[in-house]
Amino acid sequence: MKAIQNIGITIFLVGLGIFTALPFLGNFKLNQKSFDKLISNQGIKSEIFIQDLQNKVVDVEFSGFQSIAPLVKEAVVKANQIHTKNKEWGKKVYASDNDIATAIRKESGYGFIPENKGLMWFLTFGLGIIGALLFIIPQVITLGKKGIKNDHIYHQNSTNKGWIAWLVFIFLVSFYLVLYFYPEYAINWTYLVDPISESLSGNPAGHWFVYGFMYCVVMIVMAIRMYIKYRHNMYQIVRTTSVLFFQIVFAFLIPEIMVRLQLSYAKGYDFKNAFPLDYDFFFNWNLKELIAGGGLGMFILVWGIVLTLIIVPVMVYFFGKRWYCSWVCGCGGLAETLGDPYRQHSSKSLFSWKVERWLVHGVLVFAVVMTGFTLYGFFAETGTVLGIKVQSIMNTYSFLIGAIFAGVIGTGFYPIFGNRVWCRFGCPLAAYLGFVQRFKSRFRITTNGGQCISCGNCSTYCEQGIDVRAYAQKGENIIRSSCVGCGVCSAVCPRGVLKLENGPLEGRINPTEVLLGNDVDLMNLVNKK
């Protein structure tokens, strides 16, 4: 078994190694025809810019290492300076240098990688999947009898913040930096999944398709790990299946198919992604596109509003925020699969809880205020509200919250700060659901009388950094806005103390004077005080 696992690790690392090397490989040379097409696709009207860029890139050989974006940027700045001086506003270039550079690369790649997409897919994704499964599936036997198997989590380098964890951290952070800020380097990855993208939407793959596809693959592989690890625990199995289903069908397949059927504008819509997690839902351009999008566009507009204002809170009332955060949400889905080995790293200190409350509610306020500005701007048909440019607020949010917080920190920091950094400290939807869960919900984690032995397994494995034990050892139910209802505290409890359940509101929050087990006249005790 150990040998199979070692072979698996080796194969996985080969696949990962090739994948990691790809951004720096390959050759790119753009011909005139492709250049003209690209310019017209981007809707660029500046002759100065076109001429300048044409000299720089057409029929010029680039290697994988060389960045094209700075050249584009130079040309943009130069052209825009001249147009501004001449007051030729219609000719100014607004397309981003990253988008143009990425498009140039996509059009101009040649050589082994774009010519052997299937083979390259196998050497990266294929080897990665096979290797990971060879490592994971023998755990059916190596983990022994079914039950909680957390042996050596704090002895192993990878799960105890050792050098492997730091390497994973560096890899994940770099990956997100490429995705968000240097997408031209992701072009070789897009070639690998072009055939898949074309069969789904009919279009070649962009870097976000790579991300979406990879997201699903990683979740499936790591869900298999969950199924094995928690094969005694039906709640974990059902929940993992649910989150997998919503990711693959709602976040990945439906949007692609919508594009194929030309049911939607440029990109598909993820029907489960609720505002304010879906922070750009009320952005100017999105509203315009939805309204212009005919029946389906209007349906999406109404659905998005109903989802946030009615469906989400009503479901939280009945089931707690877990129905979204650990059963449906894509961010939660990745955290519960890829992130599961790191759940113990969330900080349980009171200090962290204070930081959490300020941060997550701060982001919610930011999202709501921003949306207020954009809506006002939309209806008043102005780009400036209260003397502030709406666009600059949107850009700030997209950069700080959408890219840095949710992506780079949220996932990149898994091996160091745990798997729910974004969900706990940053997600505005989680903050909103948290209010409902804390104040008006049937959900609670029931503490089983006086059975707690304060061992601390529940707190250690709480991914949201809740000090579960602090409540359990006092005989109190756990009612916390941040609880995503993953059910692992209940699973790891050696004494059967915790149960996630939905029941009547009355008695849900139950501060206890004396723990169950003592036979005292409680009223007498309370009255004497």
Binding site: K145, M234, Y235, S454, C455, N457, S459, P504, E506, G517
Partner: protein, 447 residues
């Protein structure tokens, strides 16, 4: 300001300290020689197995004690002078107005030859854990470990050592694991489970001698079956007894533990004893005079705090309950289910076991009146509150079976076995009980 001094920072002592602080403004000092801060003794096994780090076993952050003005002193009390109300530590002394003794237990040693050799140890304290980490870090250093004594700590030790793939031989005096406490069916289920975990279980076997090597380390044990088994580590887990040696020369009355009345008072005014070290003069109900259980330690701490803060309260533990985990199998008990050895004349058992899984329950009830006396469950979680209520109301077994679904505490989507259980009971006793659907109203009305 009255000065309350507590010796021992385990669950009993710390619970007392916390509740005294909740109820009063008295000066509180807690003295311990073991660790700087309170930790959960029951969780030491998880540190060795790598589920947690030692700091995770500490239920309160380090700032908690200062904030709540609970003064922590690290030191070992060697003597108590009850006339001038003073404690003697190594290099200092502490005077008190009221004293709470919560000194816990120490592992039993029954005078086996070789019991003090290197590589022979118990598992009780933080120091024992550190010792085990040194004695048995892996299967290369410790090629085999012998566990002596088939109780809860014994089986936990076996689980711990197996997590590091160390071969384990488990010497159990009884003819079946823990059958002084568990009824036959349950004890057998655990025997099977122990073997499934590749633990070399030797029932009905006693330790005779631990043999030393030339450096004073244990190298083998001999048993009363005439066998010699080579090993590197011997773990003695044959129960615990009160840690009261240092009180021998004081005027405090000692039996096996510190003798206390129902108010947890010793024979000396202003001195109380709680937790593992306390011995009730009169046993309470079916309970033993000394109860070395986490929960009773906690309850005594809560009770003594009331008394010290002016609300004199009798120690009245309610219905007996307990829990444990045998490798992968969780065990809970509510009320009294006795083993064949200790069974009362009027006590009858109904036992159900799953055909494939390691799941079973035993319900004890009164032969004539059918009154429900207690339940043991293995692999099914039950709701404490419901059983506490049913025991108080003296429900009969038929009622308990009928409403068993209300008491189920397994996680959502788990398979439920109530219909199978009731089917078996109906077949055995010719009854026609039908299981009632779970009702939130009934469950939460019991709160």
């Amino acid at each position: 300001m009255e000065h309350i001094v507590i010796i021992g920072n385990g669950i009993a002592g710390i619970t007392a300290a916390r509740h005294i602080r909740k109820l009063s403004d008295k000066k509180i000092t807690v003295i311990s020689a073991e660790t700087d801060y309170f930790f959960s003794r029951t969780a030491l096994m998880y540190v060795y197995m790598g589920h947690m780090k030692f700091e995770h076993t500490q239920p309160y952050e380090n700032w908690f004690w200062k904030k709540n003005r609970i003064n922590l002193v690290k030191g070992c009390v060697s003597k108590i002078d009850v006339r001038i109300k003073e404690l003697i530590l190594e290099n200092s002394s502490v005077s008190y107005d009221k004293l709470i003794l919560a000194t816990g237990s120490k592992p039993n040693k029954f005078g086996w030859p070789g019991q003090d050799l290197n590589g022979v140890q118990g598992l009780y304290s933080k120091q024992d854990l550190d010792k085990l980490e040194k004695n048995a870090p892996n299967k290369e250093v410790c090629k085999r470990a012998i566990i002596v004594g088939g109780g809860l700590i014994g089986i936990e030790m076996a689980e711990m050592l197996r997590s590091r793939k160390i071969p384990v031989t488990f010497l159990v005096r009884e003819t079946s694991f823990w059958n002084g406490v568990l009824p036959k069916g349950e004890s057998e289920l655990i025997n099977e489970h122990i073997l499934e975990h590749h633990i070399d279980l030797r029932l009905n076997t006693n330790l005779v001698e631990i043999l030393p090597d030339e450096n004073g380390y244990a190298k083998a044990v001999t048993t009363d079956k005439g066998e010699t088994i080579e090993c590197n580590v011997v773990v003695l887990t044959a129960g615990v007894s009160p840690n009261v040696e240092f009180l021998k020369d004081s005027d405090i009355e000692i039996g096996r533990g510190i003798k206390v009345n129902r108010f947890l008072e010793t024979n000396i005014k202003d001195i109380y004893a709680i937790g593992d070290c306390a011995e009730q003069r009169q046993p309470i109900g079916n309970r033993r005079p000394i109860e070395a259980v986490w929960y009773t330690g906690r309850m005594m701490g809560e009770t003594v705090a009331q008394t010290i803060c002016g609300n004199k309260l009798e120690y009245k533990p309610g219905h007996w309950f307990n829990s444990a985990k045998f490798l992968d199998i969780e065990y809970q008990t509510y009320g009294w289910v006795f083993s064949e050895k200790n069974k009362q004349d009027y006590e009858e058992h109904f036992h159900w076991r799953h055909s494939k899984e390691k799941i079973c329950i035993t319900i004890a009830f009164h032969k004539e009146s059918k009154q429900f006396l207690g339940i043991n469950t293995f692999g099914i979680r039950m709701r404490h509150k419901i059983f506490d209520h049913w025991l108080t109301e003296k429900k009969d077994i038929q009622y308990v079976l009928q409403y068993l679904k209300d008491a189920n505490f397994d996680p959502e989507f788990y398979k439920q076995y109530e219909p199978e259980i009731i089917k078996k009971y109906n077949a055995e006793y010719g009854t026609t009980i039908i299981t009632k659907k779970r009702s939130w109203k009934r469950i939460f009305n019991k709160a």
